[in-house]
């Protein structure tokens, strides 16, 4: 299965991205709870891009490890303002956007791997992965 890149440029693209991720998760063989986790993570992280960076993209990559295990890696990247304090942003209830402050810490709980890189004024890149 090939990787897929989806442009995130409007609120509607959030729904496009999570539907694409769910479809890929189904093809990889994820069960319903993991499909839902991956779709929800996509919704949260894609919305962050629209809200804070206005635009960016999501790359969805099916993957396999040496043990033959399958998984799905999702990369969300933008060239927006960046996150001033990643540690604070990862805390439950912290928000600068008037939301509930569940987006980043909540997303981390829904996946097996979560990596965040951000540079002020240059953008943010978040990589998440879930194994079958």
């Amino acid at each position: 299965m090939e990787s897929k890149s989806i442009a995130l440029e409007s609120e509607h693209d959030i729904a496009v991205a999570r539907n694409e991720v769910r479809a890929m998760a189904v093809r990889i063989g994820f069960r319903i709870v993991d499909q839902t986790r991956l779709a929800t993570v996509t919704s949260e992280l894609a919305r962050n891009i629209i809200k804070y960076a206005k635009r960016g993209r999501m790359i969805a990559q099916p993957m396999h490890n040496a043990q033959g295990q399958s998984g799905l890696r999702l990369i969300f990247e933008d060239t927006g303002p960046g996150i001033p304090d990643i540690e604070a942003a990862m805390r439950d209830g912290f928000t600068t956007g008037g939301g509930l402050g569940k987006g980043l810490p909540g997303s981390k709980r829904l996946v097996d791997e979560f990596k965040i890189e951000s540079a002020l004024g240059r953008g943010t890149r978040i990589m998440v992965a879930r194994w079958l």
Binding site: E11, R109, L110
Partner: protein
């Protein structure tokens, strides 16, 4: 309008909102406005939102559900969310969402019961005939 695809059924003094499509943000916001204006227009006392076909509730939809409940409350109506899929419930809890102020029950039947018992919406306010028709639909779906 995208949001108009979600019907709002008035059954007696309860608004029934069966969400049957994946909603983008605009649809969600539009639905919130429509529910509130229907509450005002009809004087309904209860709002029953059926999310049994919703495959995901993220923090945005979760917040809007809480907002609808809070605003409906101010307009003297109670809100109950019915039919959440198990996978959605698991994900909601992991995400850390509480759906503050929103009562959730398993199905439409229980939702009607809750509105009737706890919120003092009388049987004749709910409208028995239409309710039975809706039950039938639920059974077929399951």
């Amino acid at each position: 309008m995208e949001g108009s695809r979600i019907p709002i059924l008035k059954v007696g003094r309860v608004l029934i909102v069966p969400i049957q499509v994946d909603m983008d943000d605009q649809t969600v916001m539009h639905l919130q406005e429509r529910i509130l204006s229907e509450l005002e227009r009809t004087g309904a006392r209860g709002v029953l939102i059926d999310i049994s076909l919703l495959e995901m509730v993220d923090s945005f939809i979760g917040r809007v559900l809480s907002d609808i409940a809070a605003m409906a409350r101010i307009m003297d109506a109670r809100t109950v969310v019915v039919g959440m899929q198990p996978a959605v419930a698991i994900t909601l809890v992991e995400l850390g969402l509480e759906l503050r102020g929103v009562d959730t029950v398993l199905n439409v039947d229980e939702g009607i019961k809750l509105l009737r018992d706890e919120f003092a919406v009388r049987d004749d306010e709910i409208g028995q005939v239409e309710l039975n028709a809706f039950d039938g639909e639920q059974v077929n779906r399951a």
